[in-house]
Symmetry: C2
Subunit: 662 residues, 2 copies
Amino acid sequence: MEQVDIFIHAGTIITMNASFDLIQNGIIAIKGEKIVAVGAAADITKNYTASTTVDLSDQVIMPGMVNSHTHAPMTLLRGLNDDLRLDVWLGYLMPLEREFVNPEFVSLGATLACAEMIRSGVTTFADMYYYEPEIAKTTAEIGMRALLGQTVLMFPTPDSSSWEEGINYCREFLKQWNGHELIQPAVSPHAWYTATPELLRACSQLALEFDVPLHTHISETLLEVENCREQHDMSPVFWNQQHGILDTKLLAAHCCHIDRRDMRELKKHGAGIAHNPSSNLKLSSGIAPVPEMLDIGCNVGIGTDGPASNNDLDMFEEVRLAALLAKVVRNNPTDLPARQALELATMGGARAVHMADKIGSLEPGKLADLISLRLDGVHNWPHFNNNPDSIYSRLVYAAKSTDVQNVMVHGRWLMQDQTLQTVNEAEAIKQAVKVTAEIDAFVLKRESSPYNKLITLEAVAREEGYETQIKIPLQSPDKIVALLNSGEFDIRKKNRYRQFDTYFVFDDENPDAARLRFREDHYIDENDTVFQSRSRLTLLGVTHLEPLQNSVMLSRTRFMAPATRSLRFYQEYFIPDHTVEIEKLRHRWRINYQDADFAINIDQVIKPTMSGWFLEIKSRTWSHEDAVRKADLIGKLLAQFSVESEGAIRVEYIDLAERIYG
Amino acid sequence: MEQVDIFIHAGTIITMNASFDLIQNGIIAIKGEKIVAVGAAADITKNYTASTTVDLSDQVIMPGMVNSHTHAPMTLLRGLNDDLRLDVWLGYLMPLEREFVNPEFVSLGATLACAEMIRSGVTTFADMYYYEPEIAKTTAEIGMRALLGQTVLMFPTPDSSSWEEGINYCREFLKQWNGHELIQPAVSPHAWYTATPELLRACSQLALEFDVPLHTHISETLLEVENCREQHDMSPVFWNQQHGILDTKLLAAHCCHIDRRDMRELKKHGAGIAHNPSSNLKLSSGIAPVPEMLDIGCNVGIGTDGPASNNDLDMFEEVRLAALLAKVVRNNPTDLPARQALELATMGGARAVHMADKIGSLEPGKLADLISLRLDGVHNWPHFNNNPDSIYSRLVYAAKSTDVQNVMVHGRWLMQDQTLQTVNEAEAIKQAVKVTAEIDAFVLKRESSPYNKLITLEAVAREEGYETQIKIPLQSPDKIVALLNSGEFDIRKKNRYRQFDTYFVFDDENPDAARLRFREDHYIDENDTVFQSRSRLTLLGVTHLEPLQNSVMLSRTRFMAPATRSLRFYQEYFIPDHTVEIEKLRHRWRINYQDADFAINIDQVIKPTMSGWFLEIKSRTWSHEDAVRKADLIGKLLAQFSVESEGAIRVEYIDLAERIYG
C-alpha cells in the first residue's frame, strides 16, 4: 500500500489521455504536486491509501483548461473601446497603456484575470504583456501556472524606452524566473510588423540561449499577410522563419490567415498555434482554418486573447465557439467535434505552450492541474448514455464556466466550492475602481485630443521613433549639389519640390500629440512646373532631444495619415490653439551610405523668409543603437561634403519659424 | 399621487426605447401587468406611490430577452446527437420524435426549457413543435409569454397522421388559445421543402383567417436555396410569397442565404426574421447576412433554435455570438455594435414576433416583462463611464446568463434572487431522468437498425407517404397495351425494363424500417438490349393498408438512397434476417390523367415464377385526401381499360413471393 496525500473521488474522470479514457466512479491519487494514479475507485483503494479524501462523486473531473493566448492585465481596460477597427483600437489603446501601465497596474490586472480564469476552469495561461516580472510574481503567489512572454517592441513601451532596452529587460526576466515550478518565462516580440529584422533575430537568439518559448502574433489579419508579401515577398510565417523565430519553442497566436505551406512549416518546427475565435470575430480578423491545421497535424490550442478584445477570459465560451466556428470553415458539421474541441483546450493547449510532458491530461506522472464541474444544472439536462462521448458534447456545447466548482493547480486548491482560496476578489475590485476612475478621467480628456480625432478620421500608421539629424546653414549649396550629382554617391531617389507645412499646435498635455502637421508637397520638374502633389497629416509627439557628436538625435512618436480633405476642414475639425506656416523649396537626394539610408535636403525657407540655404542630413530608425551609429556616419558625410558641423542648428524649422513669428 | 402596485428601484434602467434612454437610480412603476411609469427615482416618487418597493438599486434592469426561434421540448433530446450533417441529424431525430413525442413529453420538455430560459433572462419565446396546445398550457401556467407555432408537415407527425389532419389540429389550437394574455398561437408549416404547395396555401389561409402569426423556416441552408431555385426557379422567400406566406404576420427562422431582393421582399411584407447564430454554425448552415438585413430595414430578432442544435437556450451566449459573427460578414468590426445587438434581442425580437406594441422595451403602457442583472462579477470589471453606451458592451460581450437575478413577466415574478417561483426544477429533472432512460434504451437498440446504418452511408431522401394502388392479374396485356399506345392517353414517359429486387427483411420492431429493398433496373430497348441501368436502396416502413373502392391505399415511410455499392456489400453491411428475391419484366407508362400522375405497369414476374401478367396502377402523394381522390380516378381508369377490379390483389409482390418461397 503506497501512501499518497489526496484521493479525489469523482463521479466521472475525463482523462484526456491518448485513448480518451473515461472513468466512472474513479479516484485520482495525488502526492505533492503530482498525480500518482488514476483509475476506478475499487482499483485505486487496493493499492493506495490517502491522508485526505475529497468527495466529488457528484461531479466531473477533467484537466484544467489551458488558455493559450492572453494579455492578462488588460482586464483593467475591459470594455473601454469596443466595436472598432483593429488599427483604430490599437491606436486608442497603446497611448493609454504608455500612460497607465506600470508594475502596480499589471499586478492588479493580473490578479483580476487570475480570479476570472480560475473561476472559468483555467489552470494555465500564456501571457504577453509588459512588466512580466510583476505578473510572474502575482501569478506565482496566486498559484496558477503560466507561460509569460515579456513583450519587445520596436517603439518605446511602458517598460522600455527602446527595443534594445526591452531585450535586456527580457533577459533579466528569463534569468530571474527560468526554472520556476509554476512560471515559464518567455520572449515575446509582439509581431513581425512591430519589429525590425534585428529585433526579431535578437528575440529568437535570446529564446534559444535560455531554451525558453517565444510567444508572438502571426498572421492575425489579411492586411498583415498582404503587407508582408508585398514588403518581403513571403508570408509572415516564412518571414519569421527567416529570422530564427521558428527555431525556438514558438507559440504563434492567431494564424487566421496561414496557408497549407505555412501550416506544414509550423508543424515541421513543432510550433504551437493559439486559436482565439472570439477576438478574431470581434476585430473582424477572420476565421482561422483550424480543421486544415489539424489535418496537417499542427499543435493547436485555444485562447481568449486579452479581455479588451473578447471581452472576458471564459474558456468555456471559447471552446464552444471554436467548435461551432470550425464547422463553417469547410461547411462540414462533422469538423472539430466536441471531444476534439475539448482536447484542443487541454492537451492541445499543453502542446501549444510546450508543456505537454507536464500538463494537459490526468495521467500518472503529470502535475495535478485539474478542475471539477457540476453538470446537473437545468441547462445541461438530460444526460444520455447511448454514446459515451456525449459527455464531451455536454461540456463543450452546454456547460458554462459557472458550472466549475473546484480548481487545483500543482496539487494546491485554488478554488473550492466556487470560493477562491488565493485571491481576494473584493479587494482587487476595490482597487480596480480607483484605477478605473483615473483612466476614465484621462480618456474623457483625451476624447477631444488631436490624436483621438485623427484616428477616427484616417488610416493611421506609426512611424520610426528615432531620427538622427543635422541642419547646417549654407551660403551656397552649389558645391554639395555638384558632389551629389557627381556619381560618387549611391543615389536612390532625387526630387525637387515646394513644401507647404501648416502646423497645428495644441496646448495639450498628451506627449503623443503636441503638434499636427498638414503637409503639401508640390513636385516640380526641370522647368519648375508642378507635375504631382501629395498631402499628409503627421501627428508629432513631444520631441526628446539628445545631442550627439556632429548631430542630434530626436525621439518622439509620429503617426502618419494621408490627408484626404482640405486644410480648411482640418483646421475647423482639430481647432488648434495656434498654427504656424512654413514654405520651403526643397531639393532632396535619398542616398544609401555604408548600408544606411539617409535623406539629404538642400532647403530654401521662403516663409517665414530665412536667408541662404540649409543642408539637412536625416535618417530614421526604430533602434536607439542604430541612431547612434548613424550619428557617426553623418560625421563622415559632413567630412566628404567639407562642411563643418560647428554652425549646426539643433532645432527644427518650426522652432526657427516660431522665433521669427514671435 | 397615483397608486401603483410595485416600484422597482434600479441602479440603472436600460429602457431600450427609441432614444435608448439610460436612467441611473431609476424607478419602474408597475400596476397589474403594465408599466405605468419609468424615470428617475426622484421624479417617480413625486407622482406615484406604490404598495411594494423592490430594491434592486445594486442591479441593472432591462427588458426581458425575446428568444425568437426555438423548439422548446427538444430539451429532452439535448446532446443526443451532435456533430452530424443536417440531413443525417434530421433523419436521426425524426423517427425518434415519432416514437417519443406525446403530450406528456412536450409538457415536460417545455417545463425544462422555460426553467432554463427564465434563468437566462428570456421572458418571451417563439416556438415551433408538436402538441402545441400542451406547450401552451405548460407555458401559461409557468407564466412566460410565447408565440407558439403548431407544426404542419406533409408527412405524418407525432400529432397528426396527415397534413390535413395537422391543419385541423392547428385550427382547434388557434380557436382555443387565440386572445390569451400570455400565449399567441400561430401556424407553423415546418418549411417549404416539407410542404406541398397546397399545404403552404392552407397554412397561410389559416393564419390570415385567425389573424395570427405564421412561423416557418426559410433559407436555412445553401442546398435548400439551390434546390428551390432548381425546382421552382425562384428563391424560397419568393416561393413562400407565391403561396401567401408573406401575406401573414410572418416569422421566418434562419434566412442564412437570402439575397437583397429577398430582404426587400421580407421588409415590404413586415416579416420578422429570427437569426440563430449558434445553430447555423453548429449545423454548418452558414452565416446570415445580418448587417445587410439591418441596412435594408428588416425586422431581425435573435433565437437559440432548439436545444438539440445549440445545445442550450442561453440568449446571452446568442446575443454575444450574433454581435461577434456579424463582424466577419463584411469584415467590418463596427457592424452590429453592442447596443444594436442588444436591441435585436429585445425590441428587435418583439418586432420579429409581431409584439412590438406590447413588449421589447421598458416604457409606460408596455407589459411588465423585465429582468435584472448583477454586473459586479469579476468577469465584468471594471466599469468605465467615458462612454454611456459601454453598459451595452458589458451586457453583450462580458455578461453571462448566470448574472441574471430576477425575472418578471406580465407583472409577475418568475424568478427572484435566482430562485424560480413557478417551476419545480428538481421535479422536472427527476421526470426527465425517466424519459432519458427510455430514449437511451430505444436509441441503443436502434443503433444497429437498418435505418441508422443507411443514413450513415448515403444521402437519404424521404418519399411520399401515401400510395394508392391496384394490382390485377391479366391473362393477356395486349388490349391494354394497345389502348395505352393508341394516343388516347396523355403519356409522359414510357419504359421497358427488367427489375431485380432483393428485399432485406428485418425482425425489427422499428415501424420505420421493416424492409430494405436493393433494386436494379435494367432498361431495355426494342431489341431487348440493355442500354442503361440504375440501382437504388429503399427503406420501407411497416405498411398500413386501407382498402378503398377499386383500390387500396398504402401508407408507410419510405426513404430512398442511391445504391453506390454492390449488393454483396449491402448484404454484409445490413445483415438482414432473411432476403427475398424478385425479378420482373416491367413495361411502364407514366400518364397524366385528370391532372393526376399515375404509373401504369404491365408486369411479368419471372422469379419466383408467376403465370400471366399483372396490371398495376399506382400514384403517390403526401396528402390523405389526394390519395382518396386518386382511388376514384383509378376506378375510372379501370373502366376505360374494361378491367374488373374484382380479381384485384391487395398485397405487394413481396407478399406473393413470400407465399411461394414459403
